[in-house]
Each structure stands twice: as structure tokens, then as C-alpha cells.
Symmetry: C2
Subunit: 275 residues, 2 copies
């Protein structure tokens, strides 16, 4: 039986999804690839994102994964359909789980979505939401300052509050939203700051938590849950600097989990014929 | 293409699941069967529950459903595996979705579960939770007074608080639970009373909400979401008294939704060879 869940991301944002997978599915082994060397994917062309994504996928397929989690909003927006069509294993992205969770939580059908420029421009969340429920009032807003801020390690404090306040205040004032989708895998790291700005009455949806939750659903539906009782040692690969990747992993995973992971350099090669 | 989601329950408890399906998946048509005449299933033998459940399933299969939701904890505990094994359509029960949601929500790995005698005795929630995550502290308690109280229309007020307080106070005092699974489809109707007794810091998990959420996940994964744009007219069948069923539906669905449903009498016939 195939053992591992494959997780791909343009860099380190997907580590919040990996963290949630480890927390919600502690018996499952992860193999993660972060394309840190070519991050961010946001400003790249659709073709380029598709090519890079398939390179990561082929890297993981060679390691015999049983399921694929696309832990990157841009890659989800541009490649999910193609991956679902061509792969024999279950594939999940980060957009639909957040959309479904928001529909569950909203009481007044007014939902906010924040993400990177690329994600918001793609309308992927709006489409995913409307695809399920037409009568929603959706306000989507790009927050281009959030990712660079998080990557500098600024997540709380007056500077973070100022940046988040500036981005979200108009949304809070102009909409009735009772639910806000954090449509970028970096944003859960800003959760407490965002909550303080939008107020306690707005439910924040973490696409990382929700994607891990739905991965659990799908593994059970497909009879793929791990029952071998062996504590998994997770494998993490980065195309970029190992030290930097390790530093950020430490921050996200906390100390105890780091004993369960190995981090190596990934060399990706395009394999056109696998597409 | 098959159009409807089939929903089965021993009676009216599953209407909370139907309500959530209508709210979270408003484009989907439901066909509901409540075996009110033979409710409750709780005290019945496993064989009897299996027989009655298969009668409802066969009734729905003849109506060409695309997915089956077992909206009854007892039926889920006794028949889910067999239904999954024998049916070609996706099948979901109410136990696993609640378990997965609780694992997502808990921060301290201490989870409470309340349900009917039968559900708690079956250990179905404990097994579902431990199956995914071993390191959980689980406290499960039967609350046999809750369903009869709800069926009498007592859901709030001093009497309801007294009954809920008596049942849950020991759990609140003796455990560190930060998450409580409402492991019975009647219990969402007691949500505000239960919340007031356990305190605002405990997250209540409604198996009805979570089952609807995961139905959404599965329909999308299996490419079964409805895109025909026609507002669905739901069909509800009861084996018992039509008037009583209508009264309870009114209370759960609110006025606007009642225009979208029809309620008829179901005549179930056992079809052994379909098992």
C-alpha cells in the first residue's frame, strides 16, 4: 500500500497546511516539496506555474504518494483541474475546502475573502463559493503586503496591526461579513492580528486547517487511512536554501515536531510526457 | 445524471441534517425518508436496525439517488460499513464528520462526546476519533433525557437548563474538554442551552452541520454537484403520521423552506436480495 501524502507549495506557506495535516492526521506520513527557489508563483504566467507544479508532482509520484495536497493557492487556481484529470490518486487544493467551510459558518451569507493579487484576480474563491451557493454576498480583496510582512517575521505588534488595519478596515466598514476566508497559506500566521482588526464576531476560516480536515475526509472515503501504527518520519524537500527553510519550519512546527521531519534539497526535472 | 441526495433517519432527528444540506447545498435536491413509525432505533437489535435501514435505502435507490446520507447515529453505527461495501454511490454517516471536526477544533486534545445510550455504548465516536488520532483524551456520556425532551418541544428555558445541567455538569467539572461533539441529530436543537451550561470556551460540534459540509466535499470530489440551475423541490417521506412530521419540519426548516418541500407517506418493503 502507498504510504505518504504528498504536499506541494511554491515555498513555505504550505508548511501551515503540513502543520495542520500533522496535527489532524498524526498517523500519516508527509512528503513535502516547497519550490522556494522559484517562489513566489503569484506574478508568474499560468504556463510557468503549471510547468513548475507538474515538476513537483512528478518528483512526488516517483516517491509513491497515495494522495496529493496542493497547498498553494496560485497552483490550485491554475493546475487543480489538470491534476485531477491526469492523476489516478485523489487530489485536493486549498481553495474549495475554505469555500465550503465559509458556507458552513456564515449565518448572514456575507463572506469576505483575502488573498494574494493572483488569487483574488483569478476569482477562484468567488467561483468556488457561487458554484455551491448562488445567494452569497462576497467581498474579495487582495492584500499584497501580508506575505512579505510574514516572511520578514512580522506577525503581531503595532506594525502588523497597522498594515492589517489599513488593508481590512474598508472591508469591515463597508460589508456585513460575518465570515472571512484567509485565502493564502501564509495568513494563518497573522490570525490573531487579523482577528483583532475585524473583531471577535467575524469567523476566520483558515484554508490550511480546512484543507487538512478535508484530506482526512477523503482518505477515509477512499480507504487510504494509515493503520500500521508506526510513528511517521516526514520528509521535507526545498529547492532553495536549506537553512532558511529550517528556520521557518521551526517557527511553524514548534520544537517537538521537528524530530519527526527530515529536510533535504530537491532537484526538480521537468518530465513533459507525464503531463 | 442522477439528481438527488438521499437522506435516511429513524425519524425526525435527521431533519437537522436535511436543514443543513439545504442551507449549505441549496442547489441540491433531497429525498428524505424518516422511519417515524418505528422510531427510535436506539433500543433495537443490530439486525433489526440493519433491516429497517436497508428498507429505506432500497426505497431511495428506486428513486435514483446519487449519494446517500445516513442521518442517524444508530443506523450509522450498525450499517455504514455494509452500505459502503454494497452500494455503488458514495455513502456518508453522521459519526465520522463530527469526529474529524472535533479533531480540527480541539487545541488541548480533550474532547467530550454526548449521544443516546446506543450511540455511546457502540463506542462509534471513540473508535472514529482514535482511528485518526491516538493521543486524545475522550469523555463520552449518554444523555437519555435529551431526545424525549426535544420531542416534547422543550429546548430552552429553566426546565431544559436543569436537565442539561444535570447531565453535563460532571463532565465540565471532571474534564478539560475544549470541544464537545453533539453526537445525536436531535441535539443541535438544544445548542444554545448546552452552550450556556458548558460555557463559551467549549466549541460545540454539530454532527448535522459537519455531515452537510462533508457531503459537499464528496459531491465535488466525485463530480456530482448539481449545475442545472433549477431550484430543487425536496421530497420528504415519513412512515408515520404526516401531520406530526409536518409540525416538526416547520419548527426546524422555518417558513420559507417549506414551500420547497413535499411530504408524503412512505411504504417500505424489505427487499432481502438487495442486501
Amino acid at each position: 500500500m502507498k504510504q505518504a501524502i504528498g504536499v506541494i507549495d511554491s515555498g513555505v506557506g504550505g508548511l501551515t497546511v503540513a502543520y495542520e495535516l500533522m496535527r489532524q492526521l498524526p498517523k500519516e506520513k508527509l512528503i513535502y516539496v516547497g519550490d522556494t527557489a522559484r517562489c513566489p508563483y503569484g506574478p508568474r504566467s499560468k504556463e510557468e506555474v503549471q510547468q513548475f507544479t507538474w515538476e513537483m508532482v512528478n518528483f512526488l509520484l516517483a516517491r509513491d504518494i497515495k494522495m496529493l495536497v496542493v497547498a498553494c493557492n496560485t497552483a490550485t487556481a491554475f493546475t487543480l483541474d489538470s491534476l485531477k484529470k491526469h492523476l489516478a490518486i485523489p487530489v485536493i487544493g486549498v481553495i474549495q475546502p475554505g469555500a465550503r467551510a465559509a458556507i458552513k459558518f456564515t449565518k448572514n451569507n456575507s463572506i469576505g475573502v483575502i488573498g494574494t493579487d493572483g488569487t483574488i484576480r483569478s476569482n477562484a474563491y468567488t467561483n468556488a463559493l457561487k458554484n455551491i451557493k448562488g445567494e452569497l454576498d462576497i467581498c474579495a480583496k487582495a492584500c499584497p503586503m501580508f506575505v512579505p510582512m510574514v516572511e520578514q517575521g512580522i506577525m503581531e505588534g503595532s506594525k502588523a496591526i497597522q498594515v492589517v488595519e489599513e488593508a481590512l478596515r474598508p472591508m469591515v466598514e463597508q460589508t456585513q461579513m460575518d465570515t472571512l476566508i484567509l485565502g493564502c497559506t501564509h495568513y494563518p500566521l497573522l490570525k490573531s492580528t487579523i482577528q483583532s482588526v475585524v473583531g471577535e464576531d467575524v469567523t476566520l476560516i483558515s484554508s490550511s486547517e480546512e484543507t487538512a480536515r478535508e484530506t482526512s475526509t477523503i482518505l477515509e472515503m477512499q480507504h487510504l487511512l494509515n493503520h500500521n501504527g508506526i510513528t511517521p518520519i516526514h520528509q521535507f524537500y526545498t529547492t532553495g536554501d536549506l537553512n532558511m527553510f529550517m528556520q521557518i519550519s521551526k517557527r511553524i512546527f514548534k520544537e517537538q515536531n521537528l524530530q519527526m521531519i527530515t529536510i533535504e534539497k530537491a532537484a526538480l526535472h521537468q518530465m513533459q510526457d507525464s503531463k
